[in-house]
Amino acid sequence: MNLQSRHLLGLEGVSKEDITLILDTAESFKEVLGRPIKKVPPLQGKTIVNLFFESSTRTRISFELAERRLSADVVNFAAGGSSVSKGETLKDTARNIEAMKIDMVVIRHSSTGAPHFLSRVVKANVVNAGDGEHEHPTQALLDMMTLREKYGTLDGLRVCIVGDILHSRVARSNIFGLKTMGAEVSVCGPATLMPRYVEDLGVKVFYKLEDIIPHVDALNVLRIQLERQKSGLFPSLREYHRYFGVTKEKVDRAPKPITIMHPGPINRDVELSSDLADGEHSVILEQVTNGEAVRMAVLYVLGTSN
């Protein structure tokens, strides 16, 4: 069982079989995470570099833990205080990595396509940990794992992604992955934060939460980036909360309980109310645990196939 690609750059075009392989493998790794010794040896002797050109705490920690739990050697590289601030190009950074005999690269970059570029210039396996407003495949995989765990299958599952769809790589990866797995995907958010032609990705678009809430199994609530307000895309956080904030009051109108997901970090009582985030239908912390298992699975499947 091997993936069709040597890299994980995004979920667009990744087959159902490949996604299923990663999710099945992740389930086995979740069992490893429940053991007293949470470490297994399959990537012993492999060196992985985490190239984070954009700040991130939880994704980087999650990747680093996953790498260490697979017994890989880990090198961290953060943009601040590195050669990047001295003006080095991505290509030169990549070449230097190559010269240091690195086996795998996990990259986060503010520019769309940076991981794709890297995959063309280095021999190492490349894993996209978020590129610009493009894709964040491991986040979508962990979201899918969490839903599959809860519902048994993704086929026919109704998922709505709520918030700033325009700038969200999490939304794009989720749309590609969930559609491939047979889920019914919709998006909901202010018109100013909705990409043009988003319907072409095969999703239904809603501009009012009230219209979609009765028809979904799960809501994936995106973080609203506070700096967007300054750019005038929505008038105020209070207004955003009123119209697009997911609250108990709105969700309680649904005929059956709705699973609440959030990629974190949460702006409590802005996009999601505290009582729901901590409520019985929230799977937010489960997503974090599954994130580690999914990242172990991705690194294992890519790292042992060459």
């Binding site: 069982m1 091997n2 392989l21 099945d24 493998t25 389930e27 086995s28 790794f29 069992e31 490893v32 053991r35 007293p36 010794i37 470490k39 297994v40 040896p41 399959p42 294992y300 499947v301 042992t304 196939s305 060459n306």
Partner: protein, 185 residues
Amino acid sequence: MEVTLKTQILDAGGIRRTINRLAHELVENNKDLEKIALIGIRSRGEHLAYRLANLIKEIEGKEIPVGTLDITLYRDDLHGRLDQPKLKSTEILFDIKDKTLVLVDDVLYTGRTVRSALNALMDIGRPAQIELLVLADRGHRELPIKADFVGKNVPTSLSQEVKVLMTEIDGEDGIVLIEKEEDGK
């Protein structure tokens, strides 16, 4: 063209009698059945372990815990294989600390699978003792490993393959020796 010759080593009745004997040997050699647990190596070892546990229950009236072990992550040939083995879960739902574990597998050959299994078990806990039970021992060890309980010794050459069939997976019970001969030899 490749010609394949199959010789039956044991039929279903033979398998039943052999597993029966192994269950009795296990009981005879382990006075304190409270401490015993069976660990089947996926996938045929798993079914073998469950059959042994059922027999021991018939013989002694004691329920023996059974766990299954997936050794994929501990293989020494994980890298460089064209087709990766699919990772399955290890399911050991009891504490192995201070237990006498009986590792159960279908065929003992190079000993590399057992080596992987020992490492995997050590990462899960610290058992008091580990014993090895196999249905067939075909020789050609590459590591210093020896089974404590052997169903059947099957002398083989390297060009042969020993295949254990189990009803749960293969639809029938038996052990066959497969001879691979190339044409013209």
